[in-house]
């Protein structure tokens, strides 16, 4: 696997990627701003949303047991998975027991997190991605680059070329509407013939045992109602006490993601088909997945478990907007991904991510559940420092500088020397090339210090 910097550099060199990211994220940012403006109590609504999630995270064991009991009472089967592998094994086992040849999947980031697409392929089970963006990703054989818009990195021109190459009856007219229509034609018959429908969950409702999914396309319902078996994979943090508690979160989810007041389709599934029902699956399985979440709760990352996966943090992130999602290298990109990936994939493999942030605080400002993302990122930096994962040059540099800064008199001497020598490097006020400072001067000039340091000038003035 290449490193973050290599991937980021490649992303920066790709003007099409930049264009694609800007078109979607820019639109999302503008629409969210309008939605917030139209909801005067938005800030207090965020407080409530954070409080609801915190309550659940504190009493997670209690609510999970309640959910389990109620889901079982409604006829669903509940499974528990400690790890991604365990979760995949359970899902594959259910699919095999159902004799499944193809599954219809409704977009789920947890499914991506546990590597379900790969596990299905290994088991020889056909997979039909029904979310339009996931369909694009599947055709292109790529990974999602955003949690709400998995195909954000693709321009309409690229999607058009892909559909023309892969669809049986591709669009004739060159428009986004025609492309969506082409995907509808392509997917409609195939998804209705699937043996198993697999979804994630936006919420798990403890007091009814219901699983809630939200989509704008209606693909979840079309994927989950016709097959004989419905499998849900859900992170354990998705639980809420009741449907009433999901409502304040639903109000913020769509507004923060797309700027709509609500997603078009919000469905609560409680168990399998009932006697007399005209449709619905005969079996419903719910796989509750830990995969590092209990550890996050124990290790100072409980606030991250508030996340409702709206994507606002990445849409508003200056770094994400430049490099897109793939450069982050994990399942989850952007600020929330930079917090989650070290927890999921290990800090050694992802120590760049918490640093690839200017700590400007915009993500926290837009987060509907007030996750202190900059603080959590700083926390990872501290852990990386403590565990000796930071490069020697950084440790040495910060250490040397700090030991000077602790000694004011020495500091004055060093500052005066620095001011003097930096002045020598400059020409007419500017330094175009700075030894050891190539990171700065490769792209911009460095103003030359004005002259003597403030402290030196101030002392002289005071003596006069």
């Amino acid at each position: 696997m290449t490193g973050f910097k290599t991937r980021a550099d490649a992303a920066l060199a790709d003007p099409v990627l930049k264009l694609a990211v800007e078109r979607t994220a820019g639109t999302a940012e503008a629409k969210r701003a309008l939605a917030v403006e139209a909801f005067p109590d938005f800030e207090r609504a965020r407080d409530r949303a954070a409080a609801i999630k915190d309550h659940v995270i504190t009493h997670l064991g209690h609510y999970l047991e309640r959910f389990e009991a109620n889901a079982i009472a409604a006829g669903a089967q509940v499974h528990w998975a400690r790890t991604a592998d365990e979760a995949c094994r359970i899902v594959i086992g259910i699919c095999k027991a159902a004799g499944a040849r193809t599954v219809a999947r409704s977009k789920s980031m947890l499914g991506e997190e546990i590597g379900l697409p790969h596990a299905l392929a290994e088991a020889g089970i056909g997979r039909i991605e029904t979310d339009l963006a996931e369909h694009i990703i599947q055709l292109a054989d790529e990974r999602p680059s955003h949690i709400i818009w998995p195909a954000m990195h693709k321009t309409r021109e690229q999607v058009s070329a892909l559909f023309r190459a892969k669809h049986r009856a591709p669009h004739e007219e060159e428009s986004i509407a025609a492309m969506a229509e082409s995907a509808r034609r392509e997917l409609r018959s195939r998804m209705l013939g699937a043996d198993v429908g697999i979804s994630g969950a936006n919420f798990l409702i403890a007091d009814t045992g219901a699983v809630c999914t939200v989509t704008n396309e209606g693909n979840a319902e079309l994927s989950l109602v016709p097959p004989r078996v419905h499998v849900v994979t859900a992170g354990i943090e998705k639980i809420v006490p009741s449907m009433g508690h999901a409502i304040p979160l639903l109000r913020l989810l769509a507004r923060s993601a797309t700027g709509a007041a609500l997603t078009q389709y919000t469905t609560f599934y409680t168990g399998p088909k009932r006697p007399g029902d005209r449709d619905g699956p005969e079996e419903m399985h719910i796989v509750l997945v830990d995969n590092g979440r209990t550890a996050m709760r124990e290790e100072g990352l409980a606030e991250m478990l508030r996340c409702i996966r709206c994507g606002a943090c990445m849409n508003h992130c200056v770094v994400f907007r430049q490099i897109g999602g793939h450069a982050y290298g994990g399942t989850y990109p952007g600020p929330m991904g930079a917090v989650l990936t070290p927890a999921l994939d290990g800090l050694e493999r992802s120590r760049d991510l918490p640093h690839a942030c200017t700590l400007n605080g915009k993500c926290q400002e837009v987060c509907p559940v007030r996750i202190p993302l900059p603080t959590l990122l700083r926390g990872w930096r501290e852990r990386s420092w403590r565990e000796g994962l930071e490069p020697v040059s950084a440790r040495w540099g910060v250490g040397l500088w700090a030991s000077i800064a602790r000694r004011p008199r020495l500091y004055r001497v060093v500052a005066a020397l620095a001011a003097g020598s930096l002045r020598l490097l400059g020409n007419r006020g500017w330094i175009a090339r700075l030894p050891l400072g190539g990171g700065w001067t490769r792209h911009r000039d460095m103003p030359r210090p004005e002259g003597r340091t403030f402290m030196a000038q101030y002392r002289k003035e005071k003596r006069r």
Binding site: A177, E217, G218, R274, R297
Partner: protein, 205 residues
């Protein structure tokens, strides 16, 4: 130890006797967009017309006028008078002569009629539950989703949507036509589900 026990063992916290009260307190006086309770119908219709919802509407005074209203809509859409009808006795009581009726809609093209239990003014949402008289799939398969909604079933807020007591297999909220913004964030309608949503308000009883 089973995965279940291992996960729950790490989540054992002090169980609070006041848990229920704490959870209930989180729901007191929720923040929500203002809805004029005195003008619920107008508020609901205003939300239906939003670009993100993109639904049209009509109104009838009497259930017997429903077939005419449906025929009117289909004719205006240049669609044949063909309709998928759920086995709902309220609908069966209407005179559907002149219509081609079927239980399952053809994969694309046909229209479906459904009865919503509630309408929510805050968002323009239509609330449905599954049951022997109310299949779910047709409402997602058809190109035109026509929904009958009694005016008195319009409530102000999403908090009015949930059904108390035992839950049906599926409880679902439809807030507009199927749409997607997956290509460049541009909104297009009719991604997978219905491209058209038409609400017929029933004003009489």
């Amino acid at each position: 130890m089973s995965a279940r026990d291992a996960i729950l063992a790490r989540l054992k916290g002090a169980s609070s006797p006041s848990l229920r009260a704490e959870a209930d307190a989180l729901l007191v006086a929720p923040e929500r967009p203002a809805v004029d309770a005195a003008a619920l119908e107008a508020e609901f219709l205003a939300r239906l017309a939003l670009p993100s919802v993109s639904a049209t509407h009509d109104a009838i005074e009497d259930l017997s006028a429903l077939p005419d209203a449906v025929a009117r809509y289909l004719a205006a859409q240049d669609e044949p008078p063909a309709l998928c009808l759920p086995p709902d006795p309220r609908l069966a009581a209407c005179d559907w002569s002149g219509f081609t009726l079927h239980e399952r809609p053809a994969s694309d093209g046909a229209a479906v009629l459904a009865v919503a239990r509630r309408g929510i003014a805050e968002t323009g949402s239509l609330i449905f539950e599954t049951g022997p008289q109310a299949p779910m799939l047709p409402n997602f398969l058809a190109l035109h989703h026509i929904v009958l909604l009694p005016v008195e079933a319009i409530h102000p807020y999403l908090e009015d949507a949930p059904l108390a007591g035992p839950q049906p297999r599926a409880h679902y909220w439809i807030t507009g036509v199927s749409g997607t913004t997956d290509i460049e964030g541009t909104y297009v309608r009719g991604a997978h589900g219905p491209r058209f949503l038409h609400v017929i308000l029933l004003r009489g009883c």
